[in-house]
Amino acid sequence: MNKSLIGASTPRLESSEKVTGQTQYIDDLRFPNLLVGRILRSPHPHARILAVHTEAARAIRGVRAVVTGRDFPKKYGLMIPDETVLAVDKARYIGDEVAAVAAETEEAAEEAIDAITVDYQPLPAIFDPEEAMQTNAPLVHENVSKNITIEYHIQRGDVQTAFAASECVIEQRFKTQMQHQGYMEPYSCVMSPEGGRLIAWAPVQDPFTLADQLAGLFGLSATKIRVIQTYIGGAYGGKVSYQRLNYVAALLALRAGQPVRMTNKRWEEFAAGRPRIPVITDMKMGFDRDGKILAKQTRVIADNGACCGFTPGILPVLTMRHENQYRISNIHTDSYLVYTNKVPTGPFRGFGNIQMIFAIESMMDMAAQRLRIDPVEIRLRNVVHAGDLTAHGYRIQTDGLTRCLEAVRDRMESSRAQRKPNHGFGFSCAIHSSSNRTRPFDGTTARLRLNPDGTVHVAASDPDLGQGSRTIYAQIVASELEIPVEQLAVPLVDTDYSPFGLGTYADRLTTMGGHAVLGAARKLKEAILEESATLLGVQKEELEYQDGSVAPRGCPEQTMTLSDIAKRLLWRLGGKTLSIEYTYDPPNTVQRDPKTLMGNTHSTHSFSAQGVEVKVDETTGKIDVLRVVSAHDLGRAINPQSAEGQVEGAISTGIGYALSESYEFDQGQSLANTFRDYGLPRATDIPRIETILIETNDPMGPYGAKGVGQTGTLLPAPAIANAVQDALGVRLTELPMNPDRVLEGILKKQRLDKST
C-alpha cells in the first residue's frame, strides 16, 4: 500500500543535480552569437542629463549596440509609471542607469562604457525621507507636486477616548534600515530576438508578469514574448519582474538583433538592486492595567528611493498588517511612501511587516515592563483567536499565535530560571500573510498530463525559488495518485507552455499552488476511473483505485495500471491524452476596499513566536545570540525537513537584519559595495535554531497546510532587542543593533542612572 507522502521529509527533486554541479542556472547556459551588456551608471545622486556622447563608444571594435534614455524614453512601472529603461532627463540616484552597451566581449563592453561621456548638471539632492516630505524639498520627480508618492490615513474606532482611558501610554520612535536580499546568484538574464519574437531567460519569480511588462513596454503581443524561467539561485522577493536589467537587456537585444546577456556584478547588486524599504515609525500605544491594548496611533515614513517598482504594494502592508495580530479596535495611522535620491527600494522576505513587527513587539515589552506583566503573558492577553474579525477586516483561521507563544514559553522556561550575568531573554510574535489578493484574480493553476508510460507531468503556474515548492507539489500528486515521486516531472515555468500564473510571493504557493495541484490530481484520478470504467465495460462505482492501478472490486486479474489506461486511451480510443487543468482561487478573500482599506485579502495567515537568549559584552557592545527557540504555525508540515530549512533560513536573515546588515550612505553614495562591508551573516554568526512546527490544521490550506517561508525573518530583531533590555536595561530602537549602538545605549543609560 503506497504510503502518503504528506508529512514526509522527501528529498528535493533537484538536489542530486545541485550537489553534482549539473544544475544550469542562467549564467551556466550557453547561447550562440551572445553579446554581453553593461550599464553606465550615474555618479551623481541628482543631476540633469544635458547630453550623452556615445560616438567614441560606438567606434570600439566588437560593440554592437549603444543606447541612451533618449533612444527609448517610454515611461513604465510595475505599479506607477515613474521609470524609464534608461534615465532620460535626470539621474535620480548614484547608480541610476544612464546608458548601456552590448558588445561581443565583456572587455569591449567595459571599454565602451568608459568611452561614453555625459554632461551632467548636478542638482540639490534629498536623502532623508522626513526632509523629502517637506514642501520646499527638491523634487525627485518633477511631474508630481511633492515627494510623497502615496499616503494612507486610517481611522478605526476612537483613539482619543481610548488613550484618555489608558492606564499606561508608551510612545517611541523606531528606525529600520535598508537590507539587501543577499541572494548568492547575482541577477542575470538573457534576452534574445528570434523570428520576430523576444525570448527571455531569467531566474524570475513572476514569469508571466515579466512577459506582460515586456509586451507592454515594447509594444508586442503576448504571443511575441516567451519567458523561460531558469533555476533560481535565491530570490527572497528580489527577483520579481521589476528588475531593470530585464528591460535594458531587452532593449539592447532588440537594437543589436542578437541575444544579450546582462549580469549584475556584486557591487551593482548593492548600488542598484532594490533593497528593503527603510522605515521611520512613530508609534504610540495605550494599555489598560491588565496590559490590554486600548489604542494605537502610528506614523510610518517609508523611504521609496528614486522610483517605485513594487513599493506601492508594500506601503499598505506596512500600514496595517502588524495590527492584525492583536485585538485592537481603536487605530489611527498615517503612512507615507517618500521619494529620495537613493537606490530604489523593493520587496524582500518579511515584506512590509518586518519593520513594523520590530516596533510593535518592542512596544509590547515596554508596556509589559511598565505594568509589571510577564512579556509572554501580555501577548497572550491580546492575540487574535480563530474566528476573530480584526479591525482591518482580516478573518483569523487558527489559534496559531497562542499555541506558538505557549510552545516557546514552555521550551524556554528552565533556561529563564537560571539567569546568568549579562544574559537576557526576549520574546516576540508575529502574523504574516499566506496569499494576498491585490488583483481581481489571486489563484494558481496546475495542469497534469498522464503519459503513455504511466508517468505524470505536473505543470505548475509559479516558480520554485529554491524553497522547495516543486517537491511539495510532487508529494501531493504522488500521494493522491498513489505513485512514486520518481514517476513525476515538475518542469520549470515557461510562458509558452505553463498555465498562467501570478508568481511566487506572499507565501502563497503551498496554500494556493498546493490546492491547485491537489485539485488537479483528484480530478485526474476521477477521469482515470471514468475512462477505466469505459475501457473495462463496468460502472465507475465497481472500481477500486490502489497504488496507481485500477481494478473492478474482486477482479484483480483485470487490473489496469496508469500506463495501461494511458496507452489504451491513446492507441485504441482515438488518440486521447488525459490532461487535466485545475485552478484554485481562494473563495474567502476580496481585494481591499479602496476607501476604507478594509478587507480579508489573505486566504489565511501564518503565525509564529520566538524566544531568544542573548549575552551582551558591555566592553565591545557585541550581542551574542546564544539560543533561539522558534515556533511556527504552518497548518500542516507537508515536508517537515523543508519547512525547518525555510524557518532556519528566514531566521538567519532576521538575525542579519537585527545585528549586522545595513547600507550606510554618504551623500547618497552607498558605503556597502561588497559582502565584506555589508555584514551578511556567516556560519559563525548564526546559533543553532530550535524550530517547533505547530500544526493547527488550517481550514484554508490543502491538508491543512499553509505558508511558512517568511515568518522567521520577523521575529529576531524585536526578540533580541527585548533580550538586551532584559540583560542590561537598555532599549535599542534603531537597527541594526551593532556594537556602536549598543555602547551608545549603555552610556546613555549610565548617564540617566547617574542623574536620578
Binding site: S9, P11, R12, E14, S15, S16, K18, V19, T20, G21, Q22, T23, Q24, Y25, D27, D28, R30, Q181, G182, Y183, M184, E185, P186, Y231, I232, G233, G234, A235, Y236, K265, R266, L465, G466, Q467, G468, Q641, S642, E644, G645, Q646, E648, G649, A650, I651, S652, T653, T674, F675, R676, L680, R682, A683, T684, I686, R688, I689
Partner: protein, 163 residues
Amino acid sequence: MSVDIEFTINGRCENLAVEPLETLLTVIRDRLGLTGTKKGCDGGECGACTVLLDGEPILSCLTPAVQAHGRAVTTIEGLATDGHLHRIQKAFIETGAVQCGFCSSGMIMATAGLLARNPNPNEAEIRQGLAGNLCRCTGYQKIVDAVLCVAEQSREKEGRRDE
C-alpha cells in the same frame, strides 16, 4: 601576452594558453565549460567559487589560472566517482542542506577540504571551517548537520576497521 599552462582537472590533463590575469574561475567555467563552480561575487567574499588545488580549498575567483600550472584541480564535477555520489554530496541531500543550490558546490568543496584537514570536527570547528562560504537560504544549520553526519560516518568506519 599569453602563458602556456598544463594541469590536471578532475583527473584529466589540460593544456591551455591563458592570460596572466585570467582567473582560474574564468578558465574553469568559460574555457573548460565546467559550470558547476559558481561566480557569486568575483571578489573572494562568498566562497561560491571554491575548488580544490592539490586538495586544498581555494577561491578560484582570486587565483590566477597560471597558479594551476603543474598542479591538480578538483571541481564539484570531479567529486563523484563512476556515477557514485561522494559521501558529502549524499549527506547534503539527506539532511536537507540544499535549497536554491547556488552555494552548494562551494560549500561541498570547502567541506571536502575541511574534512581532509580535520576528519572529526565539532560544530564550532565546522562553522569556522565554512565561514568563508556564504549561504542566504539555509541559515547554515542543515549544512552543519550534513558535515557532522559525514564525520560520524567516518568515525563509524574507523571504528569498524579497528575491530
